[in-house]
Amino acid sequence: MSDGPLIVQSDKTILLEVGHEAATAARHAIAAFAELERAPEHVHTYRITPLGLWNARAAGLDAEQVLDTLLTYSRFPVPHALLVDIEEVMSRYGRLRLEKDPVHGLVMRTTDFPVLEEVSRAKKIGPLLGPRIDPLTVVVHSSQRGTLKQLLLRAGWPAEDLAGYVDGTPHPIALTASEPGSGTGWSLRPYQNLAVENFWAGGSGVVVLPCGAGKTLVGAAAMAVSGTTTLILVTNTVSARQWKDELLRRTTLTEAEIGEYSGAVKEVRPVTIATYQVLAMRRGGLYPHLELLNGNDWGLIIYDEVHLLPAPIFRMTADLQARRRLGLTATLVREDGREGEVFSLIGPKRYDAPWKDIEAQGYIAPADCVEVRVDLPQDERMAYAMADDADKYRLCSTSDTKSAVVETLVARHAGEQLLVIGQYIDQLDDLAARLDAPLITGATSVKERQRLFGEFRAGTLHTLVVSKVANFSIDLPEASVAIQVSGSFGSRQEEAQRLGRLMRPKSDGRTARFYTLVARDTIDADFAAKRQRFLAEQGYAYRILDAADIGELQE
């Protein structure tokens, strides 16, 4: 047996030993068909899933190549049953094809009569199909393209979508060579270029890049390649404004060409930025603004933070299969486990880079995570012990002891750009008062938020206390220290986002520091363990300290 970097397990996971000299080559080879599941420091775990194998088929890889990759790089013999399984699964892709027929419009063709027969008799799939044209072809209503694809995927016969995309209304967009304000030159980073190329070649799909790695630029570049009218869906208004600013800076688009479609303003322009919230708004059982998605002849739809996509937009997206779709996200982990739907509706993952890789290239700041364990005083422990289950988490995560530790830490990092992040407003109010720092919550007006962010960015304001509103899509370039006092239970995705706040590269290359305060022996610690396992699996080593030992922390 060769001495390869991979160990292929019979439970369909692949272990990649990172320190091996052939690790990089092996990673590139298996990334095409296996999903990266965990990336701790020494051994990364990939998983082989039917979805991944079908995506590989969609990208033009056949079973022979996949087996060859595994056999070439594997250190030990590969379980034969797994090889047989891979071959079988991959052979299922493409037996059904969605095609454009000049006479009948959208049709589903097959090379395998029994398969078509099987799916057309399936309870859910049958009603989506129109009349049979010939034994191997059936008409599909074009509005059912997405739903049908999703159901076929679930039935295990993924359809190859060859029906293509509508062009959309042309609207030339180009990237600028230098920033208009400062005049400093810029260009896409290599991985951003690769992401755009992969996306465009595939037609539709998701690009996974860590926070701070410049996802907006990938979006802008995709728009430039597309050269059509574009709809951008973002999580909130602040984020919409930031997209607008970024587009003005990085592309030839002018103020008049970019519209905002949010609760406050409803402009539809060649490039329109809409929030999920307004689209998913429901009035009288209807979604009055969902029309926007399909009402205009968009050539490209960009979904920012695709892991937060709300259900109504999911449903609507199913009808948009003829438009090019780009999903952008930092983590494809959805706490509701609907990653599969993202893949089938927006498109397969087109580009994915481990955080650590991009950090190693210097494009995002290295981060140092520290968990500080706080002992609850006796009275709080008793209160905790006797509390209802529903209140336990709030009680332990808002302990006064934590506030004291926060003060110590803030004092330690005096002069650095520092964020205090929490879940409970009472606790944050208290902290803001103690630290004499402004507080930003959901109740803070957009204008006020932008002012505070502006000051923070400018360096006139050093400490900000923020609630979970700051989790997503706000640009705080120079935040170098974050202190998390409480989180929404064990949300892994939130942890990643919060850490992401710190990762935009620092001008002086400093290491960012991420503190999490955890109350010992409570469910706070259990949740923290869950979040930390996630961080460690993403490759972020962390340390655990007792609150008493903070003084020993090295700078």
Binding site: M1, I7, H42, V78, L83
Partner: protein, 810 residues
């Protein structure tokens, strides 16, 4: 001269080498040892031995022997020369037949004609009249069956059997018979063509009298009329030998097959084959080690009807996270390799003390492979049939399993050797190819092979003797019995165990390959194993570290172990976890004691502790004011009274509040008590001598869980059994050996009280259904119950009932 009488001198005249080869080919001739050549000859002509020898003949050898049986008869001095024999075998030349006859002669199935008037002697035989003459042993005829070579009895014999019927063909000489046949109507010849393989045919009213006119109309009537078919009873006719030979154009063997038939062979890449086989070798060894580990923890229980029940197999499959077929095969394999043995006292399969885990992996595999080759059981039978055969049940026992398995594998090896090429592919001998080829190699065995072949090939694949259907180098060595070669190949293919693991910040340790058993055992204690495949992932957690601490490890020893075996630095969170868990381990300690003694007078208690008179009570100080003893309260009280220290008896707190209730509670919740008397680890436990002494007071002590350092250890297996019993939950739902008893009890109570139960049962095909029933009676392992849903009575085997719950009252 009888064939036996000619065989004796012939055997006696053989050279040693020739006898040796005879013994090698027919081992039953000298097992058990024979007294003399007469006995040897008798044994060689015995039906059992001959039948075994005939099973080992190839198709051309068998065909030659069949022809000889028909044309020779040593009792009537009918011997034939090789050219004469070649004449009755279509497509055979004398050289070919000479070789075949010589082989049969070597096997002592054929005797040579003795010279007319002198003692038979090998030299003379060769020189007799230029050409030696041979005949088949008379008893071979019995072994070959009623119709050797598919030919009927001669006309004379048929006529003798039915003298009252007319036999027109008997009067004809061979030429007339040939003429008659040549003039037969075409339809009649068409009918005769159907008798190619067997001389028997079914004809209704076979013994009807046929008139000459009727014979013209119907071909069968024509044949009967002319005696070319002879009725043997009302429904069957036989084609006489003479007619059969004429139909074969004067030959006895028409379909002589001197060369093995070509078989269809698919090809598979050598790399794929090697990969599949090596992966199978690795995983079968892992599975066996895991299975043995599980069986040693929980011996496998058997059913009363024999074998391991589906429920038990399912439990094993779940614990080992594999499928039931795999578990069945490995159980069978373990039994064949004597790695597990049936304990006659408990009817459970236990792990035999074989030192399996400490063997090198190549040795382990050879152990399994050789046991499988020689095993007299067919694991492939398990799970088939109706009712399905259970694992390790008597039904899977087949004495001829080794013979069939060897035939299958040798055939595979032969096909493989023929199909080898230098293009990085290997020939795959599929079941069809093996059946065709085996039918030529061992025609008398092949029909038995047919049913077991799929199982044998699947097992070979599981073991890694074949990979992706093609025989591997290791497999070939094993089949040929070249064990040393196989060992060398395995040594090269199976890497040495790894001694280092990779520790990661997500609190996992990854073992990149096969871990040495000692290291694997220790890691399994410290962390929970995850994942299946060549590598194992161990996940550390507070619970697993606590488990190790309970087993007597300390934070220092754990860290030292990790440092020694980590290929990387120890991540800070892991170290924190170990130290943090260790620091807080033992916050609550649970032990056992039957009696406590408290007093505010600490000096008095210290006296009790030190006093020799109280040594049998084995006092332990929990705190300066609290002692415990494993002896029951009455014994302690009696001993104290005897020493002039009459105690006040505290009431049992579990039986309601009393004067001493508070004290009892305080015993376990007291803060300082724990720190003061927490037993020191590694302390030598003193032997417990109490039983005799305490017995004098009329009671015995029963101990609970023994803490290290506690002086309660009792070196007694019954005691250990009791300890074990006490340490397990009293009732575990739906599992364990108590389950059937609980089922019965619930059913009986329902019968008595006419209550409804919810009963979950598995049918013979494994379907599970849950029913609401009124049980009516229980007898002979069955329960009769009324099903209100169908308004009918039903009967269930109790062994099929998975769960019963009494229905709540409406």
């Amino acid at each position: 001269m009888s064939s036996l009488r000619s065989l004796i001198p012939e055997l006696a005249a053989r050279s040693d080498a020739s006898l040796r080869s005879l013994f090698a080919a027919r081992a039953d001739l000298w097992h058990p040892p024979v007294a003399d050549f007469a006995a040897l000859a008798a044994r060689a002509s015995s039906r059992a031995s001959l039948s075994r020898a005939v099973e080992r003949l190839t198709l051309p050898q068998l065909q030659t022997l069949q022809a000889m049986v028909l044309v020779t008869d040593p009792e009537q001095d009918k011997y034939r020369t090789v050219p004469e024999l070649a004449g009755v075998i279509a497509g055979a030349d004398p050289d070919m037949v000479s070789g075949l006859v010589a082989a049969l002669h070597r096997l002592a199935l054929v005797v040579a004609a003795p010279p007319p008037d002198q003692e038979p002697d090998k030299e003379d035989v060769k020189n007799d009249g230029g050409a030696p003459r041979f005949a088949a042993l008379t008893s071979v005829r019995e072994v070959l069956g009623a119709h050797p070579a598919g030919l009927g009895r001669p006309l004379r014999e048929l006529a003798a059997a039915r003298p009252q019927s007319r036999h027109p063909a008997l009067e004809l000489d061979p030429a007339e018979l040939a003429g008659l046949l040549a003039g037969a109507p075409p339809q009649a010849l068409g009918v005769l063509e159907k008798f190619v393989d067997s001389p028997l045919g079914t004809v209704s009213g076979a013994r009807r009298s046929v008139s000459a006119e009727a014979a013209g109309a119907n071909p069968v009537d024509w044949l009967l009329f002319h005696g070319l078919l002879v009725a043997i009873d009302d429904f069957h006719v036989e084609l006489p030998f003479e007619v059969g030979v004429l139909l074969r154009r004067g030959r006895i063997i028409a379909d002589f097959a001197p060369a093995p038939p070509a078989v269809p062979v698919e090809r598979v890449k050598t790399s794929v084959c090697a990969n599949a086989a090596l992966s199978a070798i690795g995983s079968s060894l892992r599975a066996m080690t895991a299975l043995l580990g599980e069986v040693s923890a929980t011996p496998v229980q058997t059913l009363r009807s024999g074998g391991v029940g589906v429920r038990e197999v399912r439990r094993l499959a779940k614990t080992l996270s594999t499928d039931m077929a795999q578990v069945c095969f490995h159980l069978e394999l373990a039994a064949m390799a004597h790695l597990v043995t049936l304990d006659p006292d408990t009817s459970r399969w236990r792990v035999a003390p074989t030192g399996w885990p400490d063997r090198e992996r190549p040795e382990q595999w050879l152990w399994l492979a050789s046991a499988w080759l020689a095993g007299d059981r067919l694991p492939g039978v398990v799970g088939t049939g109706s009712p399905a055969v259970n694992a390790l049940a008597a039904e899977a026992f087949r004495p001829d399993a080794p013979v069939l398995r060897r035939l299958a594998l040798e055939t595979v090896a032969e096909v493989h050797a023929e199909g080898r090429r230098d293009d990085a592919t290997e020939p795959v001998a599929g079941p069809d190819a093996v059946v065709v080829r085996a039918a030529w190699r061992r025609p008398r065995l092949a029909h038995r092979l047919h049913a077991v072949l799929p199982g044998v090939l699947a097992e070979a694949e599981r073991l890694g003797v074949t990979g992706s259907g093609a025989l591997t180098a290791v497999g070939a060595a094993v089949v040929a019995g070249r064990w040393d070669d196989a060992l060398d190949l395995l040594d090269a293919a199976l890497p040495a165990p790894v001694e280092k693991v990779l520790l990661q910040a997500d609190l996992t340790a990854v073992a990149p390959g096969f871990l040495s058993p000692r290291l694997a055992g220790e890691l399994a204690l410290l962390a929970d194993a995850e994942g299946q495949g060549p590598a194992t992932i161990y996940r550390f957690g507070a619970a697993s570290i606590r488990r190790a601490l309970d087993a007597g490890r300390s934070a220092e020893s754990i860290m030292a172990f990790l440092v020694e075996h980590a290929a990387t630095d120890i991540p800070q969170p892991l170290e924190y976890l170990v130290r943090d868990t260790a620091a807080r381990h033992g916050l609550l300690t649970v032990g056992s004691g039957a009696t406590f003694v408290t007093s505010e007078d600490t000096a008095l208690l210290a006296g009790l502790l030190a006093g020799d008179a109280f040594a049998p009570l084995a006092f332990t100080a929990l705190a300066p004011t609290v002692l415990v003893s494993p002896a029951p309260p009455r014994a302690v009280a009696a001993a104290l009274r005897k020493a002039g220290l009459p105690p006040a008896l505290a009431a049992d707190p579990s039986r309601g509040a009393g004067p001493g209730a508070g004290l009892g509670a305080g015993l376990w919740s007291g803060g300082p008590a724990r720190t003061a008397t927490r037993p020191s680890r590694g302390g030598e436990p003193a032997p417990y001598e109490a039983p005799q002494a305490v017995a004098s007071v009329g009671t015995t002590a029963a101990n609970g869980v023994v803490l290290p350092g506690n002086r309660l250890a009792e070196p007694d297996e019954v005691g250990a059994q009791l300890v074990l019993l006490r340490s397990k939950p009293v009732l575990t739902h739906g599992a364990g050996e108590a389950a059937p008893a609980i089922v019965l009890e619930t059913l009986r109570s329902a019968v008595r009280h006419r209550r409804a139960v919810r009963l979950t049962t598995a049918s013979g095909s494994g379907e599970v259904e849950t029913l609401r029933l009124y049980p009516l009676s229980i007898a002979e392992g069955r329960v009769r119950a009324f099903d209100p849903g169908h308004d009918s009575e039903r009967i269930f085997g109790i062994h099929r009932i998975m769960d019963v719950e009494p229905e709540e009252d409406a």
